[in-house]
């Protein structure tokens, strides 16, 4: 074997020398061909890597449900079943928080537009045919308030009015009545206008006060009456003063340093790691929640970076400490959350024992998803069943644009680039062969067979393909590295992301986060270099060059040597 190989090499020395002389002494043309090939290969590598990266980014962000192993989500709207924890606005009575100036921290949970229902109902979903797996979850919005208990700025004083209470004594005698009547008539004559009515101030506030309402001619109400009253009756008339009381009312927003923030929290069914509000696949750092239902939390990357949370950080939710064990790339969509804790932990914290508000469903076959969706909808009329496709349609942003671009342009672009690279190499090779027709005629005259001539020229193209391809691979890898070093990030946002409504103080219009949040996920565009891409790019250059060389040589060798020799250069 070795002897044969050596013999073959020894016999091919001349041809190799010819090949290298041909490539090295026609530098301009060789460099041009190499550059064309290298550029093509580099572009193929860069474009394929980029579209690969986009694909990956898409999988993590644009297909929120599939990424968490889910085909359908089942939720219930508040007006439907009317769960125990329906949509409501959180309001806090500041006075219950403590004394003014005291620090307080307060978390309230709200379920938003997803009504909670009993966990046991999930079984009904799993019994529907076509459903292979289900997972349950509880997605809540946490309104976190923290600060000092404010001083109340407005006080209204009510009460303190003097009221006349007519003590009931024995009725006046007839003589007394006549005397009173004449006295009153006299009084009325002398000051007809000034002594008509006395009105008792009626309190605006104060609730329990029952003030007498003085009216014209009402008994015991006027000064004239008092004057004319017989002494026995006057004795019983005494003045009472209502108890003075202070009523506090939030007339204006009190000036406080209270900070209100909201975030979404997901209660994750930790019994499985491949399906749920979040799965092990989304963990980018650290680990998934343990099955022990421990006080562990997963935090979405974006939330972690904006709240300076790291692995091992402590997260306090309703005075309960959770340890951050993992960072996750939260999927976009309705079921996305900023923080994930074990389901039972969240149920306990929010006082929603055995309650959930979403059932995640996996259908056996992707083709069955539509049927399963209809079945669930008909079995649970109040349920909202969303499919992965519908969720994906809700997502927009530069990532979507980029991936749409990649989808529509990427393939076409790669094909064009590859075609152009091969065409360029082919044209250069063909033109170089066209200029070598006389040389080929000479070789044939020297006794070179057609096969030998083709082999020689194809070998030249092959060598060019290998060198050009190798240069292209180097350029491609470098260019991809440069692109990756820019840390480009694409955003994807989900319109219907936060279905929960943030709570706030009643009257705290400026602080309350009542607007529907839109979750945005920044996906770093990483163009992964796959060995296969490099190999394909390289193979394209080699094959392209070889093909062009062989075709050109075949054509030239097809000429009669006589005709080839007559060709003028």
């Amino acid at each position: 074997m070795a002897v044969l190989a050596i013999a073959a090499f020894v016999r091919s020395v001349f041809y190799l020398g010819y090949l290298s002389s041909e490539l090295l002494r026609r530098k301009g043309r060789t460099i041009l061909t190499l550059l064309g090939l290298a550029l093509g290969v580099a572009l193929v590598i860069v474009i394929t890597s980029l579209s690969h990266g986009l694909d990956q980014a898409q999988k993590t962000a644009l297909n929120p449900l599939s990424s968490i192993g889910t085909d359908l989500t089942v939720t219930v709207q508040p007006d439907g079943a009317g769960g125990a924890f329906a949509n409501r606005t959180v309001s806090t009575d500041l006075s219950t928080l403590g004394k003014a100036g005291q620090h307080f921290s307060y978390d309230t949970f709200s379920s938003g537009s997803q009504t909670t229902f009993a966990q046991s109902q999930a079984k009904n979903v799993s019994s529907i045919s076509g459903v292979t797996k289900i997972a349950t979850g509880l997605t809540l919005t946490v309104t976190h308030q923290e600060g000092k208990v404010p001083k109340i700025s407005t006080q209204i004083t009510a009460g303190g009015q003097r009221l006349n209470v007519q003590g009931q004594t024995s009725p006046p005698t007839a003589a007394e009545m006549a005397k009173m009547a004449s006295c009153l008539a006299k009084q009325e004559k002398s000051s007809s206008s000034s002594t008509t009515t006395t009105t008792t101030p009626s309190p605006q506030q104060g609730g329990s006060l029952t003030g007498g309402q003085g009216g014209p001619g009402q008994f015991g109400g006027s000064a004239a009456m008092r004057k004319c009253m017989p002494a026995s009756m006057r004795r019983f008339s005494r003045t009472v003063t209502t108890k003075k009381q202070t009523i506090t009312k939030n007339v204006k927003t009190p000036k406080t340093n209270i900070k209100t923030s909201t975030y979404t929290i997901g209660g994750v069914d930790t019994s499985r790691t491949d399906m749920g509000l979040i799965t092990a696949a989304q963990v980018t750092k650290g680990r998934f929640l343990s099955k022990k239902n421990a006080r562990e939390a997963l935090v979405a990357n974006s939330y972690a970076s904006s709240h300076k949370l790291k692995l091992g950080s402590t997260l306090t939710i309703k005075k309960t400490k959770f340890r951050v064990v993992g960072l996750v790339q939260a999927p976009l969509g309705g079921q996305s959350a900023d923080v994930y804790v074990p389901l039972t932990q969240l149920q306990t914290l929010s006082g929603q024992k055995k309650q959930i508000n979403v059932v995640l469903v996996r259908a056996g076959k992707s083709s069955a998803v539509g049927t399963v969706q209809k079945k669930i909808e008909s079995s649970f009329p109040t349920a909202q069943v969303a499919s992965a496709k519908e969720e994906a349609a809700q997502i927009s942003g530069s990532l979507v644009t980029a991936s749409d671009l990649a989808k529509s342009l990427g393939l076409a672009l790669s094909i064009i680039v590859i075609a152009m690279a091969i065409m360029l190499a082919a044209l250069l090779t063909l033109s170089s062969i066209a200029k070598r027709v006389r040389e080929i005629g000479t070789l044939r005259a020297l006794g070179w067979s057609r096969r030998l001539v083709i082999r020689q020229i194809a070998a030249e193209s092959l060598a060019q393909g290998i060198v050009g391809g190798a240069i292209g691979v180097v350029i491609g890898i470098a260019a991809t590295a440069v692109i990756n070093s820019f840390n480009l990030s694409l955003s994807a946002s989900s319109k219907a992301a936060a279905t929960t409504t943030g709570g706030g103080f009643r009257g705290f219009a400026s602080n309350a986060q009542t607007a529907t949040q839109s979750a945005t996920s920044q996906v770093a565009l990483h163009a992964p270099l796959a060995g296969s891409i490099i190999l394909i790019g390289f193979a394209l250059a080699v094959l392209g060059g070889l093909l062009a060389g062989a075709t050109g040589a075949l054509r030239a060798a097809q000429l009669r040597p006589a005709d080839a020799l007559r060709q003028v250069e």
Binding site: R11, E439, S449
Partner: protein, 240 residues
Amino acid sequence: MLAPPLYELRGATRSFRLGNSTIMAVDSMDVALDTEEFVALEGPSGSGKTTLLQLLGALDRPSSGKVFFEGRDLAALSDGELAELRLRSFGFIFQQFNLLTTLTAVQNVEAGLAPLGVSAGELRERSLAMLAEVGLRDRAFHLPSQMSGGEQQRVAIARALLAEPRVVLADEPTGNLDSKSGADVIALLTDLAARHGTTIIVATHDAGLAARAPRRLTMHDGRLVGDEKNGKKAKTTEKR
């Protein structure tokens, strides 16, 4: 049993169709050539000398008629067999030298023998020896562009003779050379041919050169109009 002549042409014709007209580059030639030391092929420009040499060198096939080389009908041979024949039996020398421009002198000479599959060492050795014979041992590693026309043609002669062919077909080998180097080339060619026992067929416009040839063929408009052997009219059609 008479040995077949080196070449025998029977009504050999090579025509070219150009639009509506047909050009008879070689028109029904009947001629027999024996192993001779030197054949001159004369005729005005366009008379068909190059075309005839191409038929004799198996670079082209006749449109009609037959060309026999050592009794073998060239038209009956495959492309591969013709290539083999060109490699072993024919050597070509061109007016334009036709050296491979990217190869050195010695590589150019090697190109004439490489397809035989001899080892690299032997190939190099024989090529250098051949270059020494044409007086260019010291130019072995020069490129054609670094050599004079006469030197280039001597490299071409070395290349044509390396495989020790039966026939060397030279098409106006001195056409691009001055008279001094032209004479040198002819002297070299005849000398080497004599030593290697090679028949040389030279197409030429040089009447002086033709006059020295033992066999003189004259062409006009594709037809053979003159055939002299040692100054006497040769019997060109000896039917057997």
